[in-house]
């Protein structure tokens, strides 16, 4: 008897649940239908990378770009931090009628090629434009564009890394004059101080592009001055273990390196902490993180996503999105990538070094303009260009 009761109860519960679901479903489809009619506002979405929208850098500046565009063009924007994977986020946003979706995460497989036998997301939603950052996955082996509604955004970080490299070498050469001896402990140039470290998260083109540009920048100055630098590099530091990153940087600093450039997410934060500990310098990446450890971060190589986000939305509002090239390169001149304005480190320059500092800034600016004018050509590993060590005779790669 009792069992029957339970069965009946279970059946009723199941029916209620199903009804509830159906009701919920119909409700949402209703409302979205209404919405489409109601506002013809352009809807833009940003899918954040795992660092999240408050990363004070890469993601945050993309959001800034969307905010700016929203103010100016009256578009609607949404920021998504994917919890169940990027492909799902892309799919549901496209389903919701977002016309431009920026994908900041390095996850393009489902979008371009389709995973698990499914159609590529780009093909399934032809009316949505997808933006891939940092890579150009939208091509087959012969370099032919696969989907018309995918735009790849590449930052010419090799150029800004070059500038950072030139700055590094100039600062090391003049460290005695520039900085107060009491608060820094630089290794003297003739005692092995002409060494520089590089720590990358993983051995991929997206990371080595920084290293090669940086190397060539160091070489540019070293060649001018007729000196030789040692270059220590590690490309497998990962992105999370900040403590190990700190020790790796520590060994470089121990070896006499005066500056370490880290392109490795949180591991870079460990590197800057180490720089403060040993009273030397580090270089950060992606955003202006100069005030993370004020005085111990020489500069940051910025990847300013605000510029492309704003630019692409602007084109879309003007109805020119379809005319845009499938690959968008943002170089030094566009302002989307550069080194910082050096305001933070400038406060720590000793009085004796003020004039020298101005000279250095001038020389760096000159290098910058030479890159812009095409006089200096920097290896771009992102495009598959190969780095040739012979090109940099004044830097010894350890």
């Amino acid at each position: 008897m009792k069992k029957n009761w339970q069965k009946v109860l279970a059946c009723i519960l199941v029916i209620i649940m199903v009804m509830g679901n159906l009701a919920a479903c119909s409700k949402t489809s209703d409302s979205s239908g209404n919405k489409d009619e109601k506002d013809s506002k352009m809807k833009v979405a940003i899918v954040c990378s795992s660092a999240g929208q408050n990363d004070n850098g890469y993601n945050q500046s993309a959001v800034e770009g969307a905010k700016k565009a929203a103010k100016e063009f009256g578009i609607e924007y949404k920021v998504v931090e994917p919890t169940t994977g990027v492909p799902q986020a892309l799919e549901s946003l496209a389903e919701d009628g977002y016309s431009i979706i920026f994908n900041l995460e390095y996850d393009f497989e489902a979008l371009i090629k389709g995973t698990g036998g499914a159609k590529p997301i780009a093909e399934a939603y032809p009316n949505t434009t997808f933006i891939c950052m940092n890579d150009n996955p939208n091509q087959d082996e012969n370099g032919k564009t696969l989907h018309k509604n995918v735009i790849s955004v590449l930052f010419d970080v090799h150029e800004s890394s070059f500038v950072a490299g030139a700055l590094t070498a100039l600062v090391i050469e003049n460290a005695d004059v520039l900085f107060d001896q009491a608060s820094y402990q630089f290794t003297k140039a003739d005692a092995g101080g002409r060494s520089i470290g590089f720590i990358g998260g993983t051995n991929s083109n997206g990371i080595t592009v920084f290293s090669f540009g940086y190397l060539e920048g160091i070489n540019y100055i070293a060649e001018k001055l007729g000196v030789s630098y040692d270059y220590y590099a590690k490309y497998d530091a990962g992105f999370t273990d900040s403590s190990t990153g700190g020790t790796v940087a520590g060994t470089y600093y121990n070896q006499g390196a005066n500056v370490v450039f880290a392109v490795a997410g949180s591991v870079g934060d460990g590197v800057t902490a180490k720089a403060k500990e040993v009273k030397k310098l580090a270089i950060q990446v992606d955003a202006n993180k100069d005030d993370q450890q004020p005085g111990y971060i020489l500069t940051s190589v910025i990847k300013n996503t605000e510029v492309p986000v704003y630019e692409i939305v602007k084109q879309a509002v003007a109805g020119k999105l379809a005319e845009m090239d499938a690959v968008q390169n943002y170089d030094l001149a566009s302002g989307a990538t550069s080194i910082t304005d050096l305001a933070v480190i400038e406060k720590h320059i000793a009085d004796s070094g003020k004039t020298k500092w101005e000279e250095i800034k001038k020389e760096v600016a000159e290098a910058q303009s030479q890159i812009a004018s095409g006089k200096i050509k920097v290896t771009n590993a992102q495009k598959g260009e190969e780095f040739k060590a012979e090109k940099c005779p004044n830097v010894v790669i350890k």
Partner: protein
């Protein structure tokens, strides 16, 4: 020579949090409540210590808060796992996930990518030992933060506690045969709680050492699997304090080699990172083979 010193120094540096976790997990392991939440507890302490230091600027308060909050997680673990007899693996996994999520959530609310302390640096925590500092090679012992010294002294302390005291004997008895322990009038629940809480105390020290003392900063997920390495070390050492700590140090050696030799060998030095894992698989295989050889079982063999 300098290379050797660097390797030794880094060995001590990288062993410390693992040793503390090993010591923390040992009692729970011996009391037969395997604590896989070592990782989460360590992360919690790492986070809370830096957070409190960031908010209040008081180191004492930061350490206290980290220890208390981590022991609260220990209480949660023991209440669910011992009193309510839940599955300790599931509970441990839950704690690992929760502490990671909570730290990221708080960082998000505070709109921070990480917490780096401005008013204090890692150099402030280093303690130089006057005499030893001047002796070559031995000087690697000098210049570590306080908890590092505590960790190495704790190996001896835990060894004594485990084998020379009533507490240690009772914990082991409870772990090996709980029914007989109860029949002898030992309060098994009490000893299990004590074992887990002692473990979370050591994990708290490990976390404080990792974030506050050595880096003066916290980044999301910075424990990076050290808690699980500790569990592997406990298994390899079969729950013996000194042997297990030895395995923890072995991990430290491998890590130190990988880092220091990368200057000479380049990326290939990353290969050293696999040494401890390979060694562990071999040790576990050999140990379990020897064990099974000594146990004559009436079973069908393939």
């Amino acid at each position: 020579m300098e290379l050797l010193c660097n390797i030794l120094y880094d060995t001590i540096y990288h062993s410390t949090p693992i040793i503390l976790c090993v010591l923390g997990g040992l009692f729970a392991y011996r009391a037969n409540v395997l604590n896989i939440a070592l990782e989460g507890m360590m992360l919690n302490a790492a986070f809370v210590s830096v957070l409190v230091q960031y908010l209040t600027g008081n180191i004492f308060l930061a350490v206290l808060a980290a220890i208390v909050s981590t022991m609260l997680w220990g209480m949660v673990f023991s209440a669910l796992g011992i009193s309510f007899k839940g599955n300790v693996i599931v509970i441990g996994l839950g704690i690992n996930l929760m502490t990671l999520a909570i730290s990221k959530f708080v960082l998000k609310i505070m709109s921070l990518a990480n917490i780096s302390l401005k008013n204090i640096g890692a150099a402030d925590f280093k303690i130089d030992i006057p005499l030893i500092k001047a002796i070559p090679i031995l000087n690697v012992i000098s210049g570590h933060p306080l908890i590092t010294y505590i960790a190495f002294l704790a190996i001896v302390f835990v060894g004594i506690l485990m084998y020379q005291t009533k507490f240690g004997v009772y914990v082991r008895v409870v772990g090996e045969n709980e029914d007989s322990a109860i029949s002898l009038g030992i309060n098994s629940v009490y000893y299990k709680y004590a074992a887990v809480l002692l473990g979370s105390f050591f994990c708290a020290l490990a976390g404080i050492n990792l974030s506050l003392e050595r880096m003066a900063m916290f980044t999301g997920g910075m424990t990076a699997g050290r808690g699980f390495i500790a569990i592997a070390a406990i298994y390899c050492g079969q729950g013996k304090p000194v042997v297990s700590a030895g395995y923890a140090i072995l991990f430290g050696v491998a890590r130190a080699l990988a880092i220091n030799l990368s200057i000479y060998a380049g990326p290939a030095a990353g290969m050293f990172d696999i040494i401890p894992y390979v060694l562990m698989v071999i040790v576990l295989a050999v140990v379990s083979y020897l064990k099974s050889k000594n146990e004559k079982l009436r079973i069908y063999k393939l």
